[in-house]
Amino acid sequence: MQAETGAGAPSLLADHFDGRSGRARPVRLWLDGASLVVHDQDLDVVERRYPVRDVLWPERTRYGQRQAQLPDGGLLVAKDTGDWDAWADASTMGRGLGGGLAVRWFSSWRHTLVALAVVVAVGGATWQWGVPAAADGIARYLPSAIEQRIGDESLEQLDEVMLKPSKVSAADQQQWRERFAAMVASQPGEMTAYTLHFRDAGKRIGPNAFALPGGHIVVTDELLTLLRDDPDAVLGVLAHELGHVRGQHGMRLTIRASLVGGLLGFVLGDFSSLLAAAPAVLLHTSYSRDFEREADAQARQLLIDSGRSPRVMITLFDRLDAWRDERVAAAKARRASEPAGLAREVDKQVREGAGELISIAFSTHPSDDERKRFFER
């Protein structure tokens, strides 16, 4: 296919489409200085010239046809990539046509592996520092009205699906509010706005407390019952939740999760959104463990500042342990006393078992032992 033209430049036979008709015309190509010469093989007089840099040259890939797009809408096609590349190299003293940084990189496996390593490193750094920094920045400059709105809406949602109004009397609720306010006031520094809510969460959720964006702290009746003889432990739990409020943890976590979801969706998204969502959920929990440690540190400080021992929290973990054991024992006893209704039992077992597995794999808190040691110090 390759031949010398009269002027001595290497030439190539290719197909030319003029962009108007579907007919392929056989042409001979060669470079003459900064021009590409397209010489029609059938009509000897027709010869077109184009500046080399106005032609969109094909990138050098192993598969696929070589297509050069001409500025007048025409197209040059070579079906044999080897011939084309040999001609392009010979015409440009080995520099080739249509090269570039990207082409050099994807043409070599070694460069590709370097690129892969950089992508992984950048991804890891984004995960480790980029996402948290960006999310914290957004959280800091987010108008507080928006955070308030998100918090209010989440509380409404929870009230609808999981929580019931508290059975604790209004007087007792007021007492808890005052006790906690006094505790917070004992600590110097800027006051944090928070709202304390009491809710009945039923047996499934049990003794618990959580903080939502916008300063909402929710305590379940079950927690107050569990720690009824140890008010300092309750205050310790509230102090932990206040730590979340102070650190804007709820909002920061939400923004981080959506950033991770968005980034993964960008990289993998056009294949499967499900695949992109799964790691986002998984990774979200490891961020949250750091926040728990931070809130624990805040709680410890507030307990010390208000003249209490951080060791009150040990009671909490012991009681929670006992509560869990009791639940398991109760479930076992129920199973023993009711041999009938196998299907229902199986269903329940599967659910409980699955819940246990998930809590092992997706634990959002550090382990109780680690936390106990922290409050014992």
Binding site: G22, R23, A102
Partner: protein
């Protein structure tokens, strides 16, 4: 060419009618390679990351060019002429629009409603502009494709969806206004409109019911708008057949759920009787549910994809072209399973291979019969300039959606 002349001479001897001996089958081949696309993908990804996504349109143009240069119709590859700088503008426009849209919902329900109405007005026009851009920048044998669907036509398939979801959003806003901020007001309004949940459920159900019609209307609008040279696409696709397909997919889905349920029940029952180990039951449960999901994605997804592709392309024709798609379920399901597993094992790195393999399977299942001579086709200038304003929107913003 030579074969065609041979056919012509035989036809001449046996005296067949002129049009039938000119019929020729055009095969579609896809010659892309997974390992090569992997290298392109990684380098594209790197450049996109280090430029904070600014390189994205260039990466996309490279990807499309690679896939087109490897898509051979009758031995001639497709070519992509899109200008990445124009695609960049479209990319930014779409980013801004979707950002504004999702932000509006956070401010107030009324803002969300306004944003929704604006989106409903703009989206079909953008969709059409996107198809004009993509097809107008795709060529075969040097001849550009085109999209000639009318602007009005772009709104028709979306209309029922906009109306139904619009009524849902409006309902939410009105109730929100009535309920106000005081909880007792909310209580009263809820009692007053106790049928509200049923009404909303009904609207959602109606949306599900209308979906197959929407899908059929979308396909008809798209395929009737495709053109190259003097060939104008025409799709014969009744909504009834799409409904029937959706029903079959639904039936398959229910069957999968039933079978998974039975497997979970039986295995859990057996372990409960013999083992009494919560963990073992849990593992069985998780594995069975996982398998159920897998069947869902590996069987029902491919079933729907394969049947819809065949239905749509077998119904598509033009004056001189007829399409034939024979995508079979078994190979597609098997390939999907393989792709999913390898993607999971390689945490996503297998994706470029998966894309290449799926593309090959789906493209090579299609062939064309041409009754005439593509060599004699001539791009019609008049058709190209028919709708300059629409072309301009697509061309200026370089909106490009889909692969």
């Amino acid at each position: 060419m030579h074969q065609q002349e041979g056919d012509a001479s035989t036809g001449g001897l046996t005296g067949w009618p002129h049009s039938s001996f000119r019929k020729r089958k055009l095969e579609i081949r896809f010659t892309g390679s997974g390992s090569e696309y992997f290298r392109i993908w990684i380098v594209n990804l790197l450049l996109t990351i280090v430029t904070a996504s600014l390189y994205w349109p260039f990466a996309k143009a490279r990807r499309i060019r690679y896939f087109y240069a490897n898509t051979l119709v009758d031995g001639h590859a497709l070519a992509f002429h899109g200008d990445p700088w124009k695609m960049f503008r479209g990319h930014v426009l779409l980013l801004v629009l979707s950002g504004v849209y999702s932000a509006a919902g956070h401010f107030s329900p009324v803002a969300a409603l306004v944003a929704f109405v604006l989106m409903a007005l703009i989206w079909p026009a953008l969709w059409r502009a996107g198809m004009q851009f993509r097809l107008g920048n795709t060529s075969w044998r040097g001849m550009r494709f085109g999209f000639s669907g009318s602007l009005k036509g772009a709104y028709v398939p979306m209309l029922p969806l906009w109306l139904l979801s619009g009524s849902l959003v409006t309902l939410g806003v009105v109730i929100g206004q009535l309920a106000g901020d005081r909880p007792e007001d909310a209580e009263r309004v809820m009692q007053q409109f106790s049928y509200l949940p049923f009404l909303m459920g009904g609207v959602v159900l109606l949306m599900v019911v209308v979906m197959p019609w929407v899908l059929a209307a979308i396909k008809r609008y798209q395929h009737n708008g495709y053109r190259i040279a003097s060939q104008q696409g025409e799709l014969r696709l009744g909504s009834g057949s799409v409904y029937w397909l959706c029903l079959k997919a639904l039936g398959l889905g229910l069957l999968t759920m039933l079978v998974t349920g039975i497997i979970v029940g039986v295995t859990a029952g057996v372990t409960a009787v013999f083992g009494r180990s919560v963990l073992a039951t849990a593992i069985t449960g998780v594995v069975s549910v996982g398998l159920g999901y897998l069947v869902f994605f590996v069987v029902i997804g491919p079933f729907f994809t394969a049947r819809l592709q065949n239905m749509v392309w077998n119904g598509t024709s033009s004056d001189e072209l007829r399409f034939d798609s024979q995508l079979r379920l078994a190979p597609l399901a098997w390939l999907t399973l393989k792709n999913w597993l390898l993607m999971l094992i390689t945490i996503g790195l297998y994706r470029p291979f998966a894309v290449v393999h799926i593309t090959r399977l789906r493209l090579e299942a299609v062939s064309l019969t041409v009754d005439g001579d593509p060599e004699a086709w001539v791009a019609s200038e008049t058709a190209a300039n028919q709708d300059a304003t629409g072309e301009f929107a697509g061309d200026f913003f370089g909106i490009d959606m889909g692969l």
